[in-house]
Structure formats: C-alpha cells, structure tokens
C-alpha cells in the first residue's frame, strides 16, 4: 500500500515509539523511515510524558509490559489528560485476553512481536486514517 505512505506530504507524520526493549528502539525508526514516517523513541512512559513531542505526535506505538508505568497505565493517563493520540499496542503477550483488553480500552491497533512490515503499515494507516 504505497498510496498513503506519507512520502508525498511535506511533513512526514511523527510516530512516537515507547518501549523498554532496546532492539525495538534501535530497529523500528529505520523501518518507519523506509515506510515514510518520522519517529521518536522513548525508553519509558514517563519519559514520553515529560517530553515536548505531544502536540506533534500523530501516532503512538506503545509496549504493554514495561517496568514502572505500563502501556495501559499510560493510555489511562493520556485519556485523563485529554490527549487523544491514536495508540498501536506492540507486545509479545500472545494471550487473546490481552488483545481483547487492549482493544476494549480503545486502541486502534494491536501488533504481536515480531510483526511484519506489512502489518505495521496496515496499523499505521488505520491509525492515521482516523485523524
């Protein structure tokens, strides 16, 4: 799906990645770049909350199980702050119940690690399509 890969627009959409997983933080930005997105990585939910990228972030890729504030807790916090950023949860937890829970909480996407680039693109399009 190359039509909505963001390459055409002047401003590439900013995707924020919050994951305590180092290899995710290392590899995802390059892939996102190839897919036509800008990205910023954060080690923890707290780090994201204190950053100044809120306004510009078009989509949030969020890990669930993290030490400290979990993905779900960050989602809660953002809702409380009235920040309506579309969230794609990325996680290694295969359990159906986790997926159900994530979607119930209003996530636009749920990706199971390791995920393919096509799956990633699909989720991103869904997320940005709602904007």
């Amino acid at each position: 799906m190359k039509s909505l890969d963001g390459r055409g627009s002047i401003h590439r959409a900013l995707v924020a990645v919050v994951d305590d997983d180092e290899s995710v933080r290392e590899s995802l930005p390059d892939l996102l770049g190839e897919l036509g997105f800008d990205s910023k990585v954060f080690q923890s939910a707290e780090e994201f909350l204190v950053s100044d990228s809120f306004a510009k972030t078009r989509c949030l890729m969020l890990d669930i199980a993290m030490p400290g504030m979990t993905g779900f807790e960050l989602q809660q916090e953002l809702k409380a702050r009235g920040q309506d950023i579309p969230i794609i949860f990325i996680t290694a937890q295969k359990e159906e119940t986790v997926r159900k829970r994530a979607l119930e909480r209003g996530a636009v996407g749920f990706l199971l690690k390791p995920f393919s680039d096509t799956a990633l693109l699909g989720a991103l399009n869904t997320a940005l399509g709602l904007r």
Partner: protein, 596 residues
C-alpha cells in the same frame, strides 16, 4: 523371787557398815576346812560327774550352769549349790559388772534363782576381794539383805573361778543344817569344779559369740539372696518381656535356650529349638562370618563383646537386620548369653527418611524449576526481543535494497544488527537450556494423601517462619490417583505458598491453612487449600490463573497458570472460591487411577 529385794538393798560404795552388823571375821571360818577331818574322796563319782559335765557342755551348753549346780549338789552332798556371776544387767555375765547374779541354783535355794548380791558388800565380793576360797557361817548376820533368802545358810563354801586371769564369779555349796560340815575334800572338789566353771563360762561366751557371728552371717546371706532373687527376677522379667531377643549359646555353635522374642526374630519355632535345629553359627550369612570370628576371639579374651550390626537368616531364607551383643558366663565355661535387637523398623525408618530426603531434593529442584519458570518467562521475553528486532531489521533491509536508490550502507547496518541479535538470541537459549533441564513427566499410580503429607512436611519450617498453622484433614480410604507425583506436589506447594502469602498481612486472627482431601462426585479425588487471608478481589477473579497475572510486586504470575496447565494435563482441574468467612480456597481435582 528375792531379786528385787536384794537389789533394792544395794549398798553404795563408801557407805559405812550399819551398826549392829557382824564383822566379816565373825562370819568366816575358812581355816576350819583343813582342821576338820576330810571325807574320803570318791574319784570315780567325781570323774563320772566331770565327764557328764563335759558332755552336757557339748550337747546343751545353754543349760550348763544348771547342770553344774546340780553336779555340785550331787558330789558335795550339800543342801544347795549354785553359781554367782558378775553382771551389769542381772541377766547375763559381764566382768565389768557391779553386782552378782545367780544364773543357776540347785537344791533348797533353787527358788532364789535370778537373785544376787552386790559386788561391794557381799560374800562373793569378799571372795573376789581376798582372791581365795572362803567358808562362811550365817553370813546373813553381816549381810541383812540375805536374811529373806531362806533357809539360812549355816555354812556356805564359796570358790572363785577365773577366766583369763580375771575373777568372773564364784561357785558355792550351802548347808542349811549342822548335819554336815564342809571339809578339805569339799574344798578340793569345789576347786576342780571351779575350773570346770571357768571352761563352761568361756565356752558359753564363745558360743554366744559364735551364735552372734552366725546370725550376722545369716543376715548377710539373706541380703545377698534377696539381691540375687531380685536381680534374677529382673533378668527373668527382661527375658519374658520379649522386647529383646535373648538366647543362651555355647562355643560349639548350639543355642541352648531362647526366649520367644528371639525365636520371633529368626522365625523359628520352639520345636525347632528343642530339636537342636537352630545353631547360631548357621544363622549368620557367610559374609558376616569373619566378623563373628573376630567377636568370638574378643569374647574368649575379655568375656564380652561390643554389640554390632549384622544379619541373620530366617527359617524361610529371608534376611533380618539385627544388633547383637554377647557375653560369656563367668567360671571359665563355654556358655554365654546373647542379646538380639531387630533392626527392621529402624532400617525402614531410615529408608523413609532417605525417601523424604530424595523427595525434598526433587521438590527443591522442581521448585527451582517453578522459579525458573518465572525466570524462563522473562527470558522468553528476552529472546523475543532480538527476534523481533531481526524481523524489523530484515524488513528494513529489503526495503532499503528495493528502493529506487538502494541504501546499501543502511542495508549493511541492518544486516550487522541481525547478526548481533541472532547471536544474542542464541546465547539466551543456551542459558535457558542450562537452567531449565526440562523433566519429562512420569505418570504413575500414587496416594494423594501421602504426597500431600510430604509437601506439608517439607514446607513446615517455612510456614512456621510465617506463623502459619497448617492443618491436615485427609480423608481415609481415598482411591489412588494417576499422574506425575512431583508435578502434583508442585501444584500443592504452589497453593500452600499462595495461601501463606495471602495471610502475610493478617494480624488480628490466627493464620490457619487447612489442607483437605476428599472424594469427588466423579470418582476422583479433590485436594483443597483454604486460608484465612485477604481473600479474592471479585474484580480480578477470572484473571487469577492467567499468565503474568500477579498481585505480588515481585511476582511474575507464573505459579497458578503453570499449576492449572499441570492439572489440565492430568485431565483434572484447578479453581478457586471465596470462603463464606475470610480468605479463599483453592481446589484441585484429579481423576483416580481407574478413570484414565
């Protein structure tokens, strides 16, 4: 008797003679003895009498004094005859005495037996003072206390006798009328009778002494016999109590006698024993014979041998572990006694302990696995990281190469990352494999109650540390179950630990943990662990068994999810309920061995 009358008249020493009494000289006429014509001696009669006296001393020493008095009467042909002996208590001779008593009297004065005179004021006293024979006439004129002693003594011949050079008393002859007067012959005969009196006195003293010694010896013998009987009775009780096997053996290998306990140990009958079929040399298995030889040598040298463990062969050929001690009887014979203790129970207890130790080691290992399970989860998580990194990098790599303007440097970088991540994943798996030596489940038939008891026994220290009181309510007669014993024990341990943790904040009530087993309606067996802890929050009830669900800050949420999958693998179930009162109950159900 005039005894008391006489002794009331005891005159204390140093008192002056009451006036009106005759002087001593006036009542003596000793010199008359030699002036008077002597009657002819009757040596034959005298000798017969002496022989009779010696015989009497031999046969009836207790009455010798009376016999002597009668002999004096007979030979001297007087009216009364008797002895005076120094005494203290008036009943038996005592040379330190202060008075005389009459132990024997023959003739007319016989009724006065037992009476006596004071040492310091009396005829016998005079004789001992002068140390010679004296002839008195009417001595009651001097010694008023003798006046009541009737008939009066017209003449009294007193002869002292000695023992060990010391005067101990007198013999005397009395005439109550003028019919006869004592002469030199009487003096001579009384002299020789006096010597006999000495012998009799000494003999009696010896006999008394002997009698005393015999009595003492008899007392001692009685005491020893008592002791021996008591000891024998005790030994007999020991033999009969049949707590220890006891047998009597000889060096030739025979068993001469044995108690029931011993026969029971080796399972031979009493008939076997009596017929001589049971020989201790053959009871011992061949590999123990050397030790036996060694023991025998020690026995011969020292009389006893230290107890040692060995085995006997029973009548049916089976072995029994025993502890044997032996001793040779004193007296240099070839017989002895042996004590045998059956060690079967001890060995069994040791086996149980060993099994428990092994079970503990296995359970510890499995618990480590449980904890490793938690670690494994995080490690799995860790493996997933490099793997997803690889997939992402690979996707990037392809896109970079597919671009109109290929980004070779970018592609190379992703490739490098992939290699690195691949290696990392491999390391993690190696680490995981080392820690987690996965055990293949072994299914067998086993008793759930026994398995539960083992787990509780192993946890009791930990529970005590947490002030948790475990209570077991295990139903009897439950059917055996079929499964992997260790894994089921893992589940039970998990439930017990969870129950204990649930009560870790409880302070106002006892921390009770009830472990119960019972039959299931479906025919299987149920085990429940009930605590009085914080209970189950209804909001999280359905998540309890989920992987990674935990209420513990350091928990990974593995225990219950692994436990549930173990139960599912056993065609069983694991679930939890909130108690009517406080706390929660976790229940596992497992089908019994016939249901699979």
């Amino acid at each position: 008797m005039t005894e008391s009358a006489n002794f009331q008249n005891d005159v204390p020493l140093g008192t002056s003679i009451p006036t009106g009494e005759a002087s001593l000289e006036s009542i003596l006429c000793t010199e008359e003895l030699n002036r008077r014509a002597s009657r002819p001696p009757d040596y034959e009669k005298e000798n017969r009498a002496l022989v009779a006296l010696m015989s009497a001393l031999d046969h009836s020493p207790s009455t010798i004094f009376q016999t002597l008095a009668e002999t004096i009467l007979d030979i001297i042909q007087c009216d009364s005859a008797g002895l005076s002996l120094l005494t203290r208590d008036g009943k038996k001779p005592d040379v330190c005495g202060k008075r005389f008593y009459w132990p024997a009297i023959a003739g007319m004065w016989n009724p006065h037996v037992g009476g006596g005179t004071p040492r310091n004021f009396g005829p016998c006293g005079d004789v001992l003072d002068r140390n010679c024979t004296l002839l008195f006439t009417h001595f009651e004129r001097r010694y008023p206390y003798l006046q009541p002693v009737i008939p009066a003594a017209v003449e009294c011949l007193l002869v002292p006798f000695y023992v060990g050079g010391q005067a101990v008393g007198t013999i005397w002859a009395i005439m109550h009328s003028d019919r006869r007067k004592f002469d030199g012959e009487d003096d001579r005969v009384m002299g020789s009778l006096g010597k006999f009196a000495s012998s009799a006195y000494q003999a009696l003293a010896s006999i008394d002494d002997l009698r005393f010694q015999v009595a003492e010896r008899q007392k001692a013998e009685a005491a020893v016999r008592e002791l021996a009987n008591g000891l024998q009775a005790r030994v007999q009780r020991l033999v009969d109590a049949n707590i220890i096997g006891i047998f009597i053996w000889n060096l030739d290998g025979k068993i001469l006698e044995a108690n029931d306990a011993f026969l029971h140990i080796v399972e031979y009958s009493r008939e076997d024993l009596v017929s001589g079929d049971v020989r201790w040399t053959e009871l011992t298995p061949p590999e123990w014979r050397d030790r036996d030889e060694h023991t025998l040598a020690h026995l011969r040298a020292h009389g006893s041998a230290q107890p040692y463990e060995k085995e006997y062969i029973r009548k049916d050929g089976s072995r029994v572990p025993v502890l044997v001690g032996a001793a040779l009887f004193e007296g240099g014979g070839n017989e002895g006694v042996a004590f045998v203790l059956n060690l079967t129970e001890q060995k069994r207890a040791e086996e149980v302990r060993e099994r428990l130790r092994q079970a503990q080691a296995e359970l510890a290992h499995m618990t480590r696995v449980m904890t490793i399970g938690q670690v494994a989860a995080s490690i799995a998580h860790e493996v997933n990281q490099p793997l997803s990194g690889i997939v992402t990098n690979a996707s990037t790599c392809l896109r970079m190469l597919d671009a109109d303007l290929p980004n070779f440097e970018g592609a190379r970088e992703t490739a490098r990352r992939m290699i690195r991540d691949g290696n990392r994943a491999s390391e993690v798996i190696t680490r995981l494999r080392a820690l987690f030596n996965k055990r293949n489940p072994t299914f067998e038939v086993f008793d759930l109650n026994e398995a539960a008891k083992e787990v509780v026994a192993l946890s009791v220290n930990e529970l005590q540390r947490n002030r948790v009181i475990p209570q077991l309510n295990l139903a009897a007669g439950l059917p055996s179950v079929f499964g992997d014993r260790i894994q089921i024990q893992q589940v039970i341990l998990n439930l017990i630990r969870n129950g204990s943790d649930a009560m870790s904040t409880v302070e106002d009530r006892p921390r009770e943990l009830l472990i119960k087993t019972e039959s299931d309606e479906s025919g299987g067996v149920r085990l429940s662990v009930r605590d009085t802890g914080v209970g189950i929050d209804p909001k999280v009830e359905e998540k309890l068994f989920e992987a990674f669900y935990t209420t513990k800050s350091d928990g990974m949420g593995i225990g219950l999810s692994v436990s549930r999958s173990i139960m599912e693998r056993h065609q069983g179930r694991l679930w939890a309920i909130r108690n009517q009162g406080l706390g929660a109950t976790f229940i596992l159900a497992i089908p019994c061995s016939t249901n699979t």
